[in-house]
Point group: D2
Chain length 396, copies 4
């Protein structure tokens, strides 16, 4: 059944728009020449717009985890203490990674599926400790649970305490509102393969002046991942090492696409995608992992598999029979949830198609499903949004 | 709302699979060299398999209409008489084109939305006439109405009469069963931009030995569109003029894709797409132009707009608000029907998405629509097909 | 030896620039929608600039030969008389094609390798004849011999006589100066796969008001290749049949590239390529087919093979051992000449490389060759041109 | 002058073959699914063939420098002592990087332009020291000087001493013979953007069992760049983090291309490219940085600028006037040499073209140049090679 055509509904990698994909095939250039300077300048200006910052946005090789490790090594001195706010598998990964790298790590663990509470963070920071907490590690959008944490409020608490605010917005930035400068975030990082619609391979990272000062004071050993040469060469579009040119070509195109749609319009689109997904899931009688809709992510949704049916069976059936690729649960959630990614180059019709695949999979597995309910619920949300956007169209 | 992403549900051009699209970007070659011979041989072997013929399949520049004109000029001598069986806009185009080219044209007109009747054809051919009918012009799949004519039976009648059977299968071949040799079809032509999943620009044409004999006897003037040099150079992969190389690269890839899916599997897929579409349309309370399901096309469906709402308004809303491109009605149907193309690189999930767009458009135009009914009906058909294909999947 | 990398030095198909090649892979669109209108308008505006005309430039499927047949059928009524000026294989093809299509054809044959002489044309036209000559068929750049005919002067003579001036500029337009309106050319046609740097598959054709009047009076049968619907739909970007969309995407990009280089700059580049090629060929001791440099083509050069060595052996060795694809001779020249194409996406360095391949092939075949002489001669011409363009560069 | 077409003669990034470039544009997939397993297995099998090893070859994000840092952190414990053999800028970079990362670094400095001497290495290692040298850092092909070090002999010396042999073969592997297992190399790393013909962004690294044992004993902190999860997931095609999928698609294609050419054939081709380049440079009267041809690199050549003319002026003129991109000198060589890269998707004709550009640039700068001498010398080398490969071709 034309297996080569499938709908990719992962929280990453996400579908790549044709002009972005094709841009990669353009000829290589000298990354020390003038054409590269133009490329670099267009990309960094576009990134500053989507990061909502006036600070340099660095383009680094690797995935988000590499970016986070790099951020720690540059902005926190060896052995210093950090507080990791853990709301899921990625928060957990940062905490463990920080420990593996030799930092003293304190954890604020939140039940998976719930958002971090700023009041709780304040209490924890206020509790007298022997050593100061240098940085608070936050996850903007916890990809494993589909929770969007209240970053603005959490950041304010952390800053009041004097700690650096380091934010993993890998599956958030570009899809969900984030205001680096206005919210006082010190380090923000994301991956190009999520809402920015590029193939995987690039991490994007920006830091506040406060963070750069910490970096300059930091005596820790670093070489390839020393961010200072990137910062110092930023104005002259001079990179210390050969960049991933083809991916930069792609990123230039995806930033142009974001510019054409409008960043706020992209946020609104993701809001709609999230609401349609949740409405459709509930209409099928399935349970969402995130109970409080205020913190439900608009870029990825975790769904509990119904009793007696494993999430991997649903995913396999959705893929093999219905051509829709869904993500599994991570860590302790691997036996209980599957995830629908709806970020990046995704439109409402894709959500309808994905929900139909889930509904069909449930039916094929013999569950009592009233067909069409997921689509009905998703369409209803879609229509509401369309009615708000513009008056009813003419009938002729 | 990310206008650059849309779902193309036209009866042509149809979506192009990524490997087919990308193949076009490969470097040009000498069309008189060895690499070209390999390309040509792979393509013609693949085409013979999808045409179900042992005869040469010629690859010509241009769209289907050009192919039909070429076929007439080669296989029917100037001024001879042909019978055009007209079941819609394309049948009408062939009749008018044949007249414009100087042939004597008799028409067998069938109400648009109905299929041609072999008995009626027999009567017409039997009616004593002054001049013999040299060729019967048939439309396999009438794109304007969504009717699939009973080509096998019609061809048998025409052959009994001694006329050449010339079949336009532009929107049929590759999607719907056709057996050129077994059914005794003398000329079959199609376009690469329909079920063969290529960009527009190529016409494909095969002729029976009987047709080639007629061509050899035909004294009519022809030069660029003289098919004999194509036939004569076929074995040596020698073409009289520079071929559209990039499109040939694309065609090679699409034929490989068809080979991987299997031609019969592709037919079954289109059968499913057609049934899902019709079920969904009916579930919305809309009327199909084709009342007799036996002749309803599995590659394109014509739908009547509901009273008080123009088909162009539905199409505009589907496109601008829901991102789905539908086709309009042609000729006398332009004010009453719109068409959903579901051929080529299309999967069942696309149909669900397209139906949701139509349903949403109706609702946005204020019609009383029960959301989700189209999806429910289409999913039900889909599930039936999946249950027939394989047993229920395991639950773990 | 990395056989997949080769240098294509044919007079067509020519190398396709990466952005042009990649544009073909963009998604298909509705050719009746707004996006298509924008595409069509950009292309036709660009074509009018390269044709140097205010008349519509039509984009048709097929290769140059198809375009010429179409031009005849539209602009010359059946059975009328035309004068074909034959300076090589393509002129001969037009003459024979016109005859095959039923026209009365008078030929003015010129020795292959020489240009047509306006005085001779005047004499021939002046010679009293029974029937008027309706059209003079001219070849701008005779691809088979590498002769550029003095079109401006020939056209003036033809117009004085009252005949339509129909010009095949398939391998000329875009590479060599041509001024359709200023020179009073009635029909100009070219192919996109030559100097316009696209893959093969499109013919481009423009006609003067005088030609259109002749078309409107022409009672000859035509349908698919009736140009009037193209002309009538031009303003509204409405085409009678599905166009070759992917090739139109390519053409838009190639016209942008021409715009960036500048048309006059492209002419100057081809002038340089032609001069370098001829200088290099002569330096190797080989003989050019065209003796009079005033008429030597700047887009293709025909070279006589040295005694005792067949042109096909040179070509095979150049291809298999040196990775350079050269063209063979056509018709009566097939045993005596090979041809070097240097039009379209070709730069001076390519000519140096091609000459080195020819030089190397001669040496490998055992001819007494002083290596480096071809490069020396070509470089000398190149340096002269560079010195004229700009002062000597700074040494630091 | 068609500025968008240029010849890239850098030692990286190198030109990307069309099928490799286009592969990047294929749709993203789930990197935890079956299709990914097939992709990963094909790539790793191909890499083992070009590394000449039975050990796993890991595919990591980033450029060569990142790969070297990763190698150090994994295979050498913090604070241990390494001996860096420095023959140019890259050897210097490794030495400095190792020091920045906290290792004790001893340097064996060799004059830039000369190769390291195994005897000298033996002496240095034999000199009694307080702490054992755990690893010897070698540069296979020193990109900054165009020196190919005698890795086999140097490695033998290092192994006799008991040190790990860590080899940077960034600009060597794929172009120059290297036999990881047979020569007893413990760590070999390269970048995909050099002889492997991919866009930049991937580092490839293999390690011997001895090295893996060192890694397992190494208590040093590491997380994202901990290679053990890569090794442990190798058999199951399981990667710890999202890989750069589009670059993996590219790498699969380039490995197929290498397979078609044959690795030994690719080595022979680079040997020819190197010899042609050196012959051409000398014929122009320019001086090579590397005096001893036994150690002259066949992938990159450093050329001394003539007195009174800066290397950057030559490069600028070659680029702006002749369309050839050359590399500058690095570090202390930046004012005295320029470099010609001739590795990866490069053929002999490209070298002829590059040499003509240099020759032309010298002439344009007013130097007394006898045009054509570079081409003559390069062609002579080429002809010798062709004559060795096959008998003289037939003359007909």
């Amino acid at each position: 059944m034309l297996e080569e055509k499938y709908l990719l509904m992962l929280p990453g990698p996400t579908p790549v728009p044709p002009p972005v994909a094709l841009a990669q095939a353009m000829p290589m250039m000298n990354h020390r020449g003038e054409a590269f300077t133009a490329l670099f300048r267009e990309i960094t200006a576009g990134l500053q717009r989507v990061f909502r910052t006036r600070q340099p946005v660095l383009v680094l090789p690797g995935s988000g985890t590499g970016g986070f490790e790099t951020a720690l090594q540059n902005f926190v001195a060896p052995g210093e203490k950090v507080l990791a706010v853990v709301t899921g598998a990625f928060g957990d990964r940062w905490a463990k990674g920080a420990r593996a790298l030799g930092y003293e790590v304190e954890r604020l663990d939140v039940e998976w599926g719930r958002a971090a509470d700023p009041g709780e963070l304040r209490e924890r920071l206020a509790a007298g400790r022997d050593r100061p907490i240098r940085a608070v590690l936050l996850t903007h959008n916890e990809t494993s649970t589909g929770v969007t944490n209240p970053i603005r409020e959490l950041a304010q608490v952390a800053r009041e305490h004097g700690a650096l605010v380091m934010v993993d917005s890998v599956s958030g930035l570009g899809a969900l509102p984030i205001e680096m400068d206005e919210w006082g975030l010190d380090v923000v990082l994301t991956g190009a393969q999520k809402a920015l619609m590029c193939p995987p391979g690039l991490t994007l990272l920006a830091a506040s002046p406060r963070a750069w000062e910490a970096s300059d004071r930091n005596p820790g050993p670093r070489f390839y991942f020393d961010l200072r040469p990137y910062r110092d060469g930023y104005e002259k579009a001079s990179l210390p090492y050969t960049p991933a040119l083809a991916l930069l070509y792609a990123l230039r195109e995806s930033l142009r696409l974001i510019e054409r749609e409008g960043l706020e319009a992209a946020w609104a689109r993701h809001r709609l995608l999230g609401r349609m997904t949740r409405a459709g899931v509930r209409a099928m009688g399935l349970e969402l992992l995130v109970r409080d809709d205020r913190f439900a992510s608009d870029s990825v949704t975790a769904v509990k598999a119904p009793p007696g049916l494993s999430p991997s069976a649903i995913r396999r059936t959705a893929r093999e029979r219905f051509g829709v690729i869904l993500a599994g649960g991570q860590g302790p959630l691997s036996e209980t949830v599957f995830r629908i990614g709806h970020l990046g180059y995704v439109v409402p019709g894709d959500v309808v198609q994905a929900l139909a695949a889930v509904e069909g999979a449930l039916a094929l597995h013999g569950l009592p499903v009233e067909l069409g309910r997921a689509a009905a619920a998703a369409e209803a949300v879609w229509l509401d949004a369309l009615r708000e956007q513009a008056p009813a169209p003419a009938r002729t």
